[in-house]
Every structure is written in C-alpha cells, then in structure tokens.
Symmetry: C2
Subunit: 526 residues, 2 copies
C-alpha cells in the first residue's frame, strides 16, 4: 500500500482477528471470522490483519477465506522472519485484491537475549532477508521491530532503515508490553525519524498495548509525531489488557477534527454494531463505562429518567450517539411478520440470507417472536450470529428436563446428538440447575470437561429480553468458548456448553496436528 496522497489521512489497521483473537478463551471459527471481516469492511477499515497463518491449519484457512471473500480492505497475514512463516502468510493472503505480509522481529536487547537467544547482527540479517523475501512475493510489506519502545532507538532505526531499503512500505512501531508514555513515545518517534531518513517515504504505523491504560493516548501521540497508520482492535481486545480501541481512536480524531485535522475512512455509524458483533462472537463483555461503546457512554442512552430535557445538548455531550450507530435499534418485527419482511430486515443489517438458511432463520425468528412481543434489530443480529454458530457445531442439545427447588438438589436430564449423529441421553444433579444440565451433558457425552467461566448478558432491555450465555471450558488442556442465545437461560446455557465442547474438540484436534510440526510454534507477537 502506498502512502495516501492526503497527508492528513490516517489508515486504520484492524487487528481484532489477529491480536484480539489471541486473547485467552476466544476461539473463533472460520465462519465467525469471516462474518467479522465482512463487518470490518462495512466499517471501512483500511487493513484487516486476518491472522497468523503459520500457527495452525485453522488460522491459515481463515485468513485464506477472508482474502478470497472480503472486498475492500487490504488483507494482511502475520509472519515471523522465518521463511516458512512468510510463505504461509503469502499462501494465505495471495488471493486478496490487495494482499500484505506483515513480518516482525524484536529489536530490544531483553528480547534478543532471553527470547530469541541471538545477537543484534543476526536480527539485522533476519530482518533484511525476511523483508526481501516478502517483497519478492507481494508489493505491500509491513515490518515491525517488536518491543521497540524498550529497545535502543539507534539500533531500532538501523533495522528499520534496512527494512525500508529492502522494500518495506509500512514500518510499524509496537509498544509490545504497553510500557511507554505519550511524551516519551513522541520523543522516541521523533528520534527515529531523524535516525532513519527513509522513514519519511513510507507509512509510519503504531501498535500500542493498554497495560498502563495509555494505548489510545500513545497511539494519538504517534499520530501527532507523524505516524499515519494506527493498529487497533474493536473493543480494545488483544493480549493481556489489549490493544488501542479502534472506536476510541477513531472517535477522538472525529470529535477533535477541527483542532487536530486528521481524518479516517471509518463509517462511524457502523461502530456500535461492530462492537456488539465482536463482543457476542468472542464472549468478551464490554463494561458499561467503556468509552464510546459501553452502554452508559452516552448519557441519553442510559435510559435513566433525566430531570427535564437538557437546555442545550452540547452542554453535556461532545458526541451524538447516532454518530456511532446507536439509533440503529429501529427495525421492529412481530409474530405476524413474514419471511419476506425478515429477509428485508436482515438485508438492512448487511446479512444476505436466502434458501435453506432463510428457512432456518425464519423458524428461529418465529420461535422467538412467539415469546417476545417485538423483535428488534439487535435481537436479529443475535439470532443470525447464533445460527452462524450452528453451522459448525458438532454436538447439539436436542432436549432437556430440569427440576429445581430450594428444598432439594436440582436434577437434569438431557438429550444430545453427537458429531456421529448418535442420540445420547444423560441425567445428573448439580449445585444448581445449570450445573445439573452441564453435568448431565458430561454424562451423556462421556467427556471430562472443566467449566472455567460462565456469564450471562441480555441482548436488549426488558423482562422478555433474549439472554446470551457465554461459557469457557477446558477439555484435555485446551480452553474454548461457546455462546448461546435464548429467552430461556437453561436452554441458552446448554447450547453454549455443547458449542464450547465442539470448539474445544476442534481445537484439541488442531493442537495435535501442531504437535506434529518440526518446530513448536510460539505465539509471542508485537
């Protein structure tokens, strides 16, 4: 990707599917990653980092599918400086309209000594070879000196200049451990510009982690120092405390544009929906007081009675909730709505559904519409993403019976269909009715599963809201998440549990494959 002509245009590089997906307990399958990638394209991001193809066949397949099917953004794949990594990344992204290979190696002495166990000279050689190799395969190559903010700036500048000389078109400076401070980062980048004269001819990028709560501020400091690409993730997910929040950096530039003068290509009205989709598919909740996308972020969204109408809106609001798409909850269907109305509503939401998939969606819609008076856009989003999951579930919960009482232990019986199509049943008690269902599923499937996390949220407000259950469990040392949506918490929990089971089995199988690779794959990334 060449530098944009407009010197004030900031490129948004989304790493939700790479750094975000590396968070513990997140296990997106290809269909889910593709759905998120399509939404990121609607949101208008410039680059989608779709994964780290060398790490597993599943990751490779997901990146390849996104590269083939998602139009608009550059599709990037991550690679260490190893030849095999770069070839895997190239194999996965090469069918994209605009493919990018993103390769990285640490320049900090602490990483060079303890993690890489090598020398500075070797790092220079690896960077040179990797960028040259990547550049022989694609036009668009990004290079990151990992842990740069804790590295010697002169050595880092030398490595960056080598990458530029070999044809890197973007140089990304990662604050890998979330250590730097805005004024320090500004000074670091100014020094880098002075030391690596080639930097002014490529796109300078920043990749900041939030360990000290400064990811957005550091990214912004980077932009003020001349960077024109920000690496960020929806809801700020990512390793440990996560990456800079896409929605925060974008709305900061949007809100303060008259003073700062920088622009992005983001369609801000898609922000709220993207946030909900990522939260739902990853099972990662957004806290109510999260900036931009938390449910209280906009005063008038809080639903709390205000003492009179505000005399002037701008008195207490610097952003309008409609700008981030928070008015989008308008499509309302009811139990008498037909198949065509549903299809139209789904299309408005960006979901192309027809044939058997539409029949299936319509069946679920009617079940819900029987229980809820009004089915909103947010309910439809939840249902469609719920259906999406079923396409890949290997275990399914067919039926259940539960008795619970304060006077005796709860008891559950369940019917489960196995991946082989067999119907099995199991009965068990538990500490509570959901626990009894989980134990009954274990009894039915004969699997030794440990529950790690269990969380319930509501899709919309109100007594008849859809409940959304998120489960994280462990099976044979592998953690996996599953989600389920229903007005019935026991049904939603059971669905989430069998999906997590299916994901865990799939992951365990993939891990077995990985174990056969010559070299164990370390996931330490920028």
């Amino acid at each position: 990707m060449t530098k944009p002509d407009d010197p004030n245009r900031v490129l948004i590089f989304d790493t939700t599917l790479r750094d975000g997906e590396q968070s513990p307990g997140i296990s997106l399958n290809t269909a889910e990653k593709l759905e998120i990638a399509h939404q990121l394209a609607r949101l208008g991001v410039d680059v989608i980092e779709a994964g780290f193809p060398i790490t597993s066949p599943g990751d490779f397949e997901a990146v390849q599918t996104i590269a083939r099917e998602v139009e608009g953004p550059v599709i990037a794949g991550l690679a260490r400086t190893h030849t095999a990594d770069i070839e895997a990344a190239h194999g996965a992204v090469k069918d994209a309209g605009r493919p990018r290979i993103h390769t990285f190696i640490s320049t900090s002495d602490i990483h060079i000594t303890h993690q890489l166990q090598t020398t500075r000279e070797d790092v220079k050689g690896q960077a040179r070879a990797a960028v040259a190799h990547a550049r022989s395969l694609v036009e668009d190559v990004e290079f990151s000196p990992m842990d740069a903010t804790r590295a010697d700036v002169e050595f880092t500048a030398e490595v960056c200049q080598i990458a530029i000389d070999e044809g890197a078109t973007t140089i990304n400076i990662p604050d890998t451990v979330g250590y730097t401070m805005p004024h320090e980062f500004t000074a670091y980048l100014e020094r880098l510009y002075a030391l690596a004269p080639g930097l002014k001819d490529v796109v300078l990028s920043v990749h900041c982690h939030d360990d000290l709560g400064l990811a957005v501020a550091n990214s912004f400091a980077g932009l003020l120092a001349g960077a024109r690409q920000v690496e960020c993730a929806i809801n700020g997910i990512g390793e440990r405390a996560g990456n800079a929040s896409l929605e925060e950096i974008v709305m900061l530039l949007h809100t303060r544009r008259p003073d700062v003068g920088l622009t992005t290509g983001i369609v801000t009205t898609e922000i709220a929906r993207t946030s909900r989709m990522v939260s739902r598919l990853t099972g990662y909740v957004v806290q109510p007081n999260k900036a931009i996308v938390g449910r209280n972020a906009f005063a008038h969204e809080s639903g709390i009675h205000q003492d009179g109408v505000l005399k002037e809106r701008t008195t207490y609001e610097i952003m309008d909730a409609t700008t981030v798409g928070l008015d989008a909850n308008s499509i309302v269907l009811g139990k008498h709505s037909g198949r065509h109305a549903l299809q139209q509503a789904l299309e408005e939401l960006g979901f192309q559904v027809s044939g058997q998939a539409l029949n299936q969606a319509f069946k679920r819609f009617k079940e819900i519409a029987d229980k809820k008076k009004q089915v909103t856009a947010m309910d439809l989003e939840a249902l469609v993403t719920d259906e999406l999951r079923d396409e890949i579930a290997t275990y399914t919960l067919e039926w259940f019976e539960v008795e619970a009482s304060s006077r005796r232990p709860p008891h559950a019986t369940v019917g489960v269909r196995t991946p082989e199509g067999e119907d099995v049943t199991g009965s068990f008690t538990g500490d509570g009715p959901v626990d009894a269902v989980f134990h009954a599923i274990n009894a039915a499937t004969g699997l030794d599963v440990k529950l790690r996390e269990f969380r319930v949220g509501a899709v919309t407000a109100g007594q008849d809201a859809l409940g959304e259950v998120s489960v994280v469990l462990e099976l044979g040392g592998v953690a996996a998440a599953g989600q389920g949506v229903s007005t019935d918490i026991i049904e939603a929990s059971g669905r989430a549990y069998v999906r997590a089971l299916s994901n865990a089995q799939r992951r365990a199988a993939a891990a077995d494959e990985d174990a056969d690779l010559a070299e164990p794959v370390a996931l330490r990334t920028p």
Copy 2:
C-alpha cells in the same frame, strides 16, 4: 489539607462513592458505601469524596456515617455554590478527623449561558461567597471550575484566583465532558499557572472523564504540568464513560517511577480486592481486557497453558501480578473448617465479624462448603458482601420450586416474606425458568416491576463456582440494582431480584421526599 512537603507526592482523591455512584443503575445503601469507604482507607487513598449531601437524605446519611466511622483519609462532601449545599456538606463531613468541602461552579460560557443561565460576573460572585462560606466552616476547601477545559482560560484563572484568595486549599480542574487531549491539557494548565499566581501555593488537582478514552493520559499530563492531586475512581466508573481509573493512574506512576519520579500513598496489593468489591456491590462488570484489574491483564493469570515457562519474566511483563494483590486468593477453607477458622480468615480479609453476624456468616459458609470442596478468599469476600446486603433487604425469598423443559413452558412457585413480615406465595410461567421466578415474585408481591438488566458472573473459576447475579429493574420510574450469590443460578437470581425490589422501594420513597423540597436537585457535576 496543606500541600505535602514532598514535591513528588501525588494525592489520590477517590470519587467512586460520588461520581462513580452517580452511574445509572448503581444504588448503594449506607452499609455498602461504608464497606467500600473502609476498603478505600485500607487501600491508602488520601481523600474519599463520600457523596453529594444536599441531593437526598440517604446521601447525607451515608456521608455522615463515613465521616464518623472511617479513619485515615480526608472525607469530602460535594456542594454547589449554594448556601444550602455548603451547609449540607458541612453537616455531613464535620465529624470526620479531617473534613473537606468541595464546591464547584461552571466557568465555561456554554454552561454559564445554557445551564446556569447567568453571567460571568455572577459566577465570580458565587465562587467568592461559596469558598468564603466553606472556609468559615472547615480548614480544607476544594474549588472546581466545572467544564474548565471548554472555558476561557483567562476567565477560569480569574475565578481560581478568587477562590484561592478566599482560602481554597485545593483547585481542581475538571475535564467535565471528557473533551481535552494530553498536549492541550498540559498547555491549558501551564497557562493557568501563569495567569493565576496563587496556584503555586495550593494543591492543583485534575478530574478527567474518559469519553474519548484519554482520562488516564490527561490526568497524567496534568501531573507532568504540576498537578499533585488526581481525582479518580475504582474500575474507572463514573458518569457516562466514567472517570480516570484509580488503578491505572496509580500503577502507571508505580511502574514508571524510575523515569517519572512521582509517588502515591496507595497500598498497591489492595487494588485487586478493592476492584472486586466495587464491581460486586455496584453490579458493574470489569471487562476481561481492562488494564490492571481485568482477568487477562496479567498474562500468567489467564490460566491458559503457556508453551513452556518464560525464559525471563520481564520479557513480556512490566508488572508483577502480586503487586496489585492478585495472589491473595490463598486462604482456603473446607467443610470441616470451624467457626474460629472462619473468623480468622475473615479478619485477614479485613472484616471484623462476631456474635450474631458470625453465626449467620458461619451458617452460609457451611451451606456453601457442603456444595464446594474449597472455599477461597474470593468466595468469602462474596459471601460477606452478600450477607451485608441482607441487613437491609426488606423483601426476602423464602423458598422456590421450578420446573423447566425444552418441551413445555417453565413454571415457578415462590414464597416471599414482605417487609411487614407477611409470607406470600405466587406461581407463574415465563420465557425461561428465571423469568418464571421473577414473574412469580411479581405475582406474590403484587408489584408492577420491569426488568431492565440481568447479568451473571462467576466468583471463581471451576464447575462448582459461586454464581453472582446482578439485576437492574424499574419500579414506578425508579431504577435500582440488586445482587445475589449462590451456586444455584435460580436462587441467586431470586435473591438479586427481591433485593433490587427492596432497593427500588427505598429509592422511590426517597424520591418522594425529594419531591417535597422547595427546589428540584440537579445532579450535573464536574
């Protein structure tokens, strides 16, 4: 409070109980606020802003109780510049060892014109009179020019100098709408120092909101410009996107101390517990990727299997999880542990429990220990805070029976004891078993309640974890929250629901009292 002798000492002013408590759906009672205040004292904050005493008799009582019982920190009460506000604040804080009155008025033209509907001259007069009045009552007076970052800096400086001349000992600059940027805030404060020469003799404070994700960075920019007090809240709660997170600003100063040189009086090992307590009592979840206190914030806390032990810990960690108290989950009791062991364990956690309260806690402990193999420190925290809530519950759930199945609608029957001591029962169906229980409680009590939110989290990991349910409901236009803890999700939900009911009734009664006041109380604050 006079300026500390050490020029590098930063005062931590905690507003969890004031700005944080103003978040939608949070309704802490006096016992809960007192528990949090005691914990804030253990955490070592310098100032506790305990509430806004004029706003309701309940708020007045809570501030007064904290002022009388919590030793160590300065106890502050918020007041507009009105005489009645200042007298209420004084009445509430005067019994504290070190009382503070914090008074505020807007200096931005947008607020002066649209909100206050007055003139700059009047604002100067009100500030002068309020500070003089407050100073005649207490030694320690803080003044805030609200919305300062959107105000004319020269006018703001003039008002600040007036407050200093009248004896204000702290001048706090609020970024009320979360609008400023670090470099802009630095420049603003430098200009303020130049324009108001008296500023150098008092403590300069900053109060930043997180609407654009910059609250911590702006607070930090304030400190670099010379401020020595930061107003912040646990978990970053507060109006809209909340305030600066106490844990983030504190750990930033702690981690970067060799480079920045600023210190606080915070006992960092109390951070994790304080965060859990505030999350539990407010019902506000902390997202997994939240800096410092999110469950993934520390890589080794994620519980995910790592590929081999890290060669050197600092390679990927800039903070040690034990520094923020994440190793505190060590006390483990079992079903054979006695009353004395429980009392000792609670004492280690900072809870002084004896007599009838100990008997009650022991009874609950044995119930849980029968179901769980190990009862950890985190379980005990949850149980004690759960018991705390019972002291004020007016409705109690006595028993329930539920049948749920995928083949027919769920059905629930409940027994509830009313505030009058009457036992009532109700039966109902619902969209799910929890919904059926809620409807049955409505049927039993005859109250017209709307459920707004329902959320479940686990206290610790594992299949036998305690579930923690948080419910927000609306009764007669008043929103209130309730929480319940149990291994049984239906029991926890029922407990949470009747507690939310009790809180809503109490709030509705308080709102009726407020409606009798001569002047309606607006809650717009810095």
